[in-house]
Symmetry: C2
Subunit: 199 residues, 2 copies
DNA sequence: GCGCTACTACACTGCACGGTGTAGTGTGCT
DNA sequence: AGCACACTACACCGTGCAGTGTAGTAGCGC
């Protein structure tokens, strides 16, 4: 008995669900709390999504799709049409790492996915952001600005260099870091990347 | 009414608790299941540890202490008394990354800590393994084998370079990787590190 | 044997929570 | 007005589970 309902209400439910799941984790999160947060009756949630599990998966999928778009936009505005390569990579990494360290939705969702990976195998999809980044690195390689024989691997390392230390020190967003520390770590990460992959 | 009991029984309980917590996560894990796994009555668990939360924290602390010792031993047998630096770092990274990628206890516990970080702030202690690694890098710096002005930061990056891609691709141990892929990623990570910090 | 301690087996309480059923209300369409 | 539909409010069921209380047993020192 799944009602399709209005897109606005679906969005409200999914947003509320994400918030509660992120704060509590899947098992602790209560559907009553989600309903209250969404300003919707519990019954409506069940009419829309059937059960808690489907609601969870929908919330994750919806949000991840938004993140991919944001990531694509960030790539366009920092790495495409680059003049100063180090600066471009730094600006890219800065935004990315700052999201990570500020207990932002992005990292929390990663944390949630890691936590629930064993219980929801469907969460372990591919990682489109890495391939999007790899495409850019390959383009920079063709333009002679980088020496990147394996763009996918290089994208993996760039991502790790730029976000890894920030993730570790912030415990995946659970402890906030100040911007100076983030900037410093990102700067160092970019330098390391260029030392290895620069011309 | 906390009984101190026998060390052997405490160990059995903690081991069983860890197993169930790792498999199920904190909220889903049932004390009955832990009791069954430990071959002990539920009542005994409560007599020993008081409540589920304390049992959880004890299980984490106990296991982490063991890991620190193991890490220290690994450092000694790979990085101390080094002749071929790249090879030494590779051997170090290989063991470390393999643990990570094989869904081993070590990563699962990290995953669990990440998942529960928000609910158990006491889990977010310092990270003694990083400082242990930093000490070694500083020694290599003094011996003129590396150029490491900030050993703590360098240790952060070495750790990230060696384990990051493996963690990402294996979804923190949820998906096993084959040894060739691990070796390749570790090799690349070490080369990047040396490109940035080598003499 | 006696007493003490550690432990088990098990029944039980209280509660939180997933999920359902239903009566009633608001809104918009014809 | 009358109908259809979306939604809410709320009561309700079943269950799983943290935590407790207790009676009984096995072992051990004396």
């Amino acid at each position: 008995m799944v009602r399709e309902g209005s897109p606005a209400k679906r969005a409200a439910i999914v947003r509320a669900a994400l918030k509660v799941f992120l704060a509590e984790g899947y098992a602790r999160a209560g559907v009553d709390a989600i309903a209250a947060e969404a300003g919707v009756s519990k019954r409506t949630i069940y009419d829309y999504y059937g059960d808690k599990e489907r609601l969870f998966l929908a919330a994750i999928a919806e949000t991840r799709a938004g993140h991919e778009q944001g990531f694509e936009a960030l790539l366009q505005e920092t790495i495409d049409d680059v003049t100063d390569l180090e600066d471009a990579l730094f600006r890219f990494g800065r935004v990315f790492a700052t999201e990570v360290a500020k207990s932002a939705e992005r990292t929390e969702i990663l944390r949630l996915m890691i936590a629930e990976a064993a219980h929801f195998p469907r969460l372990l999809a591919d990682r489109p952001t890495r391939t999007a980044l790899a495409d850019r690195l390959e383009a920079l390689h063709r333009r002679g600005l980088l020496d990147v024989p394996d763009p996918v691997e290089a994208a993996e390392f760039l991502g790790v260099l730029v976000t890894g230390p920030v993730q570790n020190r912030s415990w995946y967003g659970a402890v906030p870091l100040d911007q100076d520390e983030i900037d410093h770590l990102v700067r160092s990460g970019v330098r390391i990347f260029l030392a290895a992959y620069g011309r």
